[in-house]
Point group: C2
Chain length 433, copies 2
Amino acid sequence: MPRKEPSRAVNIGLLGLGTVGSGVYQILTSECRDIERKTGLRLVVKKIAVRSLHKKRKIRVPQRILTTQVRELIEDPSIDIFVELAGGIHPVKEWISAALRRGKHVVTANKALLAEEGLSVYRESLRASRRLGLEASVCGGIPIIKALTEGLASNRISHFFGIVNGTCNFILTAMSRGSLSFQKALAEAQAKGYAERDPKLDIDGTDSAHKLAILARLAFRSEIPLRKISVEGIRSLSGADIEYAKELGYVIKLLAIGKKWKRGLELRVHPTMLPLDHPLASVRGVYNAVFLRADRAGDLLFYGQGAGMFPTASAVVSDILDIARNISSGSRPAAQPLFPQLPVLPIDDVKSKYYLRFQVEDKPGVLGQIARTLGRHDISILSVHQKESYQSRSVPVIILTYEAREKDLRKALGIIRAMRQVSEKPVVLRVEK
Amino acid sequence: MPRKEPSRAVNIGLLGLGTVGSGVYQILTSECRDIERKTGLRLVVKKIAVRSLHKKRKIRVPQRILTTQVRELIEDPSIDIFVELAGGIHPVKEWISAALRRGKHVVTANKALLAEEGLSVYRESLRASRRLGLEASVCGGIPIIKALTEGLASNRISHFFGIVNGTCNFILTAMSRGSLSFQKALAEAQAKGYAERDPKLDIDGTDSAHKLAILARLAFRSEIPLRKISVEGIRSLSGADIEYAKELGYVIKLLAIGKKWKRGLELRVHPTMLPLDHPLASVRGVYNAVFLRADRAGDLLFYGQGAGMFPTASAVVSDILDIARNISSGSRPAAQPLFPQLPVLPIDDVKSKYYLRFQVEDKPGVLGQIARTLGRHDISILSVHQKESYQSRSVPVIILTYEAREKDLRKALGIIRAMRQVSEKPVVLRVEK
């Protein structure tokens, strides 16, 4: 049997003691014996930087390890891993850089930072030959970063669809299940603590775009400029469309979509119609999931809790353990190359199938006019569904199209919108399968 | 920027050039530049041991690296990783031991070996301070081993359900979709190449038990004696029960079930009724999936292709890459403790909900007699469904029970079976949710 070496302590500095920080502290303290027994690693939380020393906290933390000075963590030579759970871009980015330059490995759950300044942070970690753990930044407890970077390392990913925002998925599930309006479903999410009082970041798709940027960077090995991601949120979705989609055999999900073509990358966040038998269709409530297609491993789906104290903390701790194992085995991080920046296709050039809903006067000839306009713009019709009127004077007409180009669709819709017999802005949803 | 070091070659010896071996060879040769660019690692297949040098192969392999002597791989000091894709227990186990003793790391997809002799092989790897990669042994392309051992390292797993045999899942899906008999569905699976000509290992549940042993060992950190796993296959499932299950809102899947209780482990493979909205219910065809509950990360599901040349080869290559990274970074494997052996609960003591189908004479009083017998044995009835007769003289009566003990059920069924009015052996299926 191998000689049992005495375990060396791996010291951790924690920045932030909010929900996730408290979870990480609890796991590291309550599991420390088990972790040592299982891995031979003794993990010690050496210092925690907080905003206020005197805030009431739900967990018990020895006063002596608390500090309001982040500098104390950065400058403590005994700290091996700097765990950033504060959030925000500045001055967090500068703190992370300083920690890396002082030879610390970094673990962060900061998706906004990684989406906006990821390249620069990654460069800094390469320069310092230190590791950067980011499992907790996407999909909480689902080990999707590890799957992309290690489990599927020899694969090329052709595309992925992610339900990466639990708040939106909860709202869409509630709308679909209970025939609720968006406003009522949002209120329910807020009452349950699944949505912030200001839910903008979630429901407008920004949070999903951040996660898309991080996933796409690793899946396609390309730098991803956040501003090139096309983003639509769920705010304007109507219960009527969710009902119509259901009747047609579809469910509506807010998806983060990444596709790699020879011409470039397709990156978009928007409400999407998925057939009911798609593996993502049954992901309900606050759950997250990522579906991806790998050239060797085939189709894969990862499903789990995308947020919350312990799921996210579990991901942070898995990064800490990976780094600690490497420290203890004396391993140096490999010099990984920087990613080239692949071109991103403008949304105008993206092809998709569409669900279109028009509110039209119930008069002969209108449908023919719409169909001709679509046809003239290279948009072929898969099926037409005229619904019972739910308003007094106009009827909804639903058209499913074959694959068409966004630019062509937009032109056609401009013309149709101007028709006298069309009473509202047409509803447009993209359809994937 | 870090100094770009010249990449050292990591040499691989491949034992076996069948389906998976050919896939591994193809990935390693076609992706070698990409892998080197991405990871700085140069992977070289140095030697391949095969049964015959002159067999016609679908892939082109230089004759000079082929040998019929496994010894040549084991004794070649330049080979760093011994990749075992031959299958079978002996002499493969001895070859692996010899390779470990010669300082080679080992990657294997051999689930039978790992299930039956895993402890001994693992001990050998500890003794030699070498790594043992086994991602490909369970669920092909799904990185479930990595998730259990690394991604969820700080979690305790309370239970898991796995659809780990694609052949059985294909057969059950075909029976359920097309109302086929077991025999017809099996013939279809064989025609498509999803079932062996001798399908025993798959349909009798042995293959699932092997995978259960490997998953349970890692999930519960306990040695798992294969013979303590209770195993039932799908051979005796009738189309009628699949139909009745569907009517009641359930689907039947062959599950590998592991649960950890204070009293011990529950380990069983059997056809199981799952509610239609369970995340595993929509896993169709040859796909595999593992659902698990982790104390911190929450409920997780991993879904993908469980077998096939490239999915399995992708898992083998991910292990090779992990080991190669460690070799190149100079890391030594940590001395992990051996697992203690937790007690395994005898199937008699396992509690479950049940679906019971009796064929009874269509006469008053029979149902009452059955219900009383169940009641006397502590088995409470959740619902009773009397079906239309599909035979001439008896009618099927279906009873769903609350949770009951296997031992009690068996006793009650013995008594019921002896009733004059009960014409066939009762059908018993366990129900999970």
